[in-house]
Amino acid sequence: MDDMKDLVLNYVIKEYMEDGDEEITYDTPLISSGYVDSFSMVSLLVFLENKFTIKIPPEKATPEAFDNVNSIVALVKQYLK
């Protein structure tokens, strides 16, 4: 489980964090903090779908569901076969 969280966390750090000083955890707000905006959410969604070979329905890809690594992983788990 933590492997999955770490994978998502590391991807977020690599792709969306501009400052290496920022420390984020599984609970750090991503959308409400502005680290990931609504337009960038699309690229995060594509990453999840590619990496886990899943399809997340557009209505489930909400700012709330994407707001931290824990909630993202919970969402992904619903669609894992």
């Binding site: 501009e18 707000p29 502005g34 905006d37 337009f39 690229s43 700012p63």
Partner: protein, 567 residues
């Protein structure tokens, strides 16, 4: 009774001197927006009134009185002067919606320098072209964004100072960087205001066109006259209002109506520096008892998507007046807001170039859902025939929206681009680049853009800029970028791409290209969809036929394809 009273009566006897008199300004006097937004409010006895309630995404709150923002403007202005920043130097503000963004705006103007606000989500290339074009001398930014500046600093010889407002002492400063903490700085009680006049440059906003690089739209301090009066008559702000403009000051709404309008009237405003969520927004309105809310159709459609149920969890009875800007407000959104909030959102139409609201649904006037409304008093707006550029008189006939130049906040130039500036005027009319019709009651009805510029979430994106950036990706051969319809954002960016020999399309490459554009330009410019093609539709002379792809996305007739290259 609304501030404007009778629209028809205002039309009969309108003069911009209404605003000049209220602001106690006379031709030839000093006029400085920074002073008007802070010192003047204190001098009239409202120094202790709250100017800004600020809340960040963690819920941390700050409040600033008009005296606080006066002192902050002085302190930041004095600091910049100490660095050698002079009048007419360009100072870029590259920050999230933190208090320093709003307060620096005043400080830069007070010393007569030119504010160049840029959206903090811009990637390094978007940042570079705008700083290079403006010959920017200083940039005020945050630690989280400084990495982008560091990547381009060597290509920007004019950029002498990188000012970091939240410097971390544990990390060494790099080349040209200087730390500045407003909280730790000694407040400057008095400073010598630079005596800007009506035509002194004030704000330089960048906007995108179909072709070429972004254009720097230069405004002057006299713009205050129409920004003040439209705030009063269209947004209907009053002394006891709590105002929330959801726009980011990286864009013109965030400065004209997110700083200048409310503060020049001495009105309290609040700012939420947080990403969008319906719960967070409703909670913010309830908590601060927001009375006037100026937002955007994209946000309104997102709220509609979140549903009506959630609204019932909040007490939003404080809302008195609602307005919207950035893209056409669809009739469904107007009807929905009337049903859910008991108030209709009033559409306002204007542009970076116009500096203030041009056409709008006024408070107290009958709102026709889906209509843009009527021209502001003193604004002569028409629709022109697409070929002759003569005004159309027949109701319902579509043409180009054009405005007779001469209002106070009209742009004075495109920075370093006289040719593009001249192209905006034909037969004595300013061409907005938008198409509309006018009904028999004088209401304007938006039809669409007259060019290929993509309006996504109320922000303009140049297809040319995205296509050029795509070509810098090592695997991309050719590219064409068009708008794709979107339920929430009205339009989003879609890219059609061919690959260089040896590369084949897959989902990982799609993501790689999306992230490449997001980091290079901005999240707004990132294609939300990439379609890989064997070849792009071209004319026989080799020009990519973007309109064929656009028609395909919108389900429209492709039109004349006689020049289309055959296989």
């Amino acid at each position: 009774m609304s501030n404007i009273g009778s629209y028809e009566e205002r039309l009969k006897q309108f003069s911009w001197s209404v605003a000049e008199n209220e602001l106690e300004y006379a031709a030839g006097n000093i006029i400085n927006i920074g002073w008007y937004c802070s010192d003047r409010i204190c001098l009239r006895g409202d120094g202790a009134k709250v100017a800004l309630y600020h809340e960040d995404f963690c819920g941390n709150q700050k409040r600033y009185t008009f005296n606080d923002i006066r002192l902050a403007g002085n302190t930041i202005g004095s600091f910049l002067r100490g660095l050698g920043i002079r009048n007419e130097d360009r100072v870029c503000l590259f920050m999230d919606r933190i208090p320093e963004l709003y307060l620096s705006f005043l400080g830069v103007l007070k010393i007569g320098a030119v504010v160049q606000p840029l959206f903090s989500a811009f990637g390094e290339e978007s940042l570079f072209v705008r700083l290079e074009n403006a010959g920017t001398r200083a940039i005020i930014t945050q630690r989280k964004h400084v990495a982008k500046v560091r990547k381009i600093i060597d290509r920007l010889p004019a950029l002498e100072h990188i000012i970091i407002v939240d410097y971390n002492p544990a990390k060494p400063l790099e080349k040209k960087e200087v730390a500045f903490s407003l909280e730790e700085a000694v407040p400057v009680e008095t400073m010598e205001l630079f005596p800007t006049r009506a035509e002194s440059p004030s704000v330089l906003h960048y906007t995108s066109g179909t072709t070429g690089q972004p254009k720097g739209v230069r405004h002057v301090h006299y713009s205050l006259i129409s920004q003040y009066l439209t705030t009063k008559w269209v947004l209907d702000l009053r002394d006891d209002d709590i105002y929330w403009c959801t726009a980011d000051p990286g864009w013109v709404t965030g400065t004209s109506y997110g700083i200048i309008g409310p503060w020049s009237m001495g009105v309290t405003q609040c700012v939420l520096d947080s990403g969008f969520s319906a719960q967070a927004w409703y909670s913010f309105i309830e908590k601060y008892r927001v009375t006037m809310w100026y937002s955007a159709p994209t946000a309104i459609r997102s709220l509609m998507k979140a549903g009506e149920e959630i609204v019932r969890n909040y007490d939003l009875s404080c809302l008195r007046h609602l307005a919207s800007v950035g893209e056409p407000l669809n009739s469904e959104a107007v009807i929905w807001s009337q049903k859910v909030f008991g108030k209709a959102f009033h559409d306002t139409f204007w542009q970076t170039e116009t500096g203030s609201i041009m056409i709008t649904n006024f408070p107290g006037m009958k709102v026709k859902p889906g209509s843009m409304g009527k021209p502001f008093p003193g604004i002569e707006a028409v629709v022109l025939d697409m070929k002759s550029y003569e005004p159309l008189t027949e109701p319902g006939k579509m043409g180009l929206i054009a405005i007779k130049p001469g209002w106070p906040s009209m742009m004075r130039m495109y920075w370093n681009n006289e040719e593009k500036y001249r192209e905006k005027f034909v037969n004595g009319w300013y061409l907005t680049g938008d198409r509309a019709s006018i009904d028999n009651e004088g209401y304007f009805w938006f039809v669409g853009r007259d060019d290929d510029v993509i309006n996504t979430g109320g922000h303009l994106v140049s297809p040319f800029e995205v296509e050029s950036a795509l070509l810098e990706h090592p695997k991309v051969g050719e590219s064409a970028v068009v708008a794709k319809p979107d339920e929430v954002n009205m339009e989003v960016v879609k890219a059609f791409v061919t690959l260089k020999p040896g590369f084949s399309p897959d989902k990982d490459l799609e993501l790689e290209i999306m992230n490449f554009i997001r980091k290079k330009l901005s999240p707004l410019a990132m294609p939300q969809e990439i379609e890989f093609m064997e070849k792009l539709p071209k004319t026989r002379s080799g020009k990519i036929m973007r309109r064929v792809l656009h028609a395909q996305e919108w389900g429209e007739e492709i039109g004349d394809i006689s020049t289309l290259e055959n296989d």
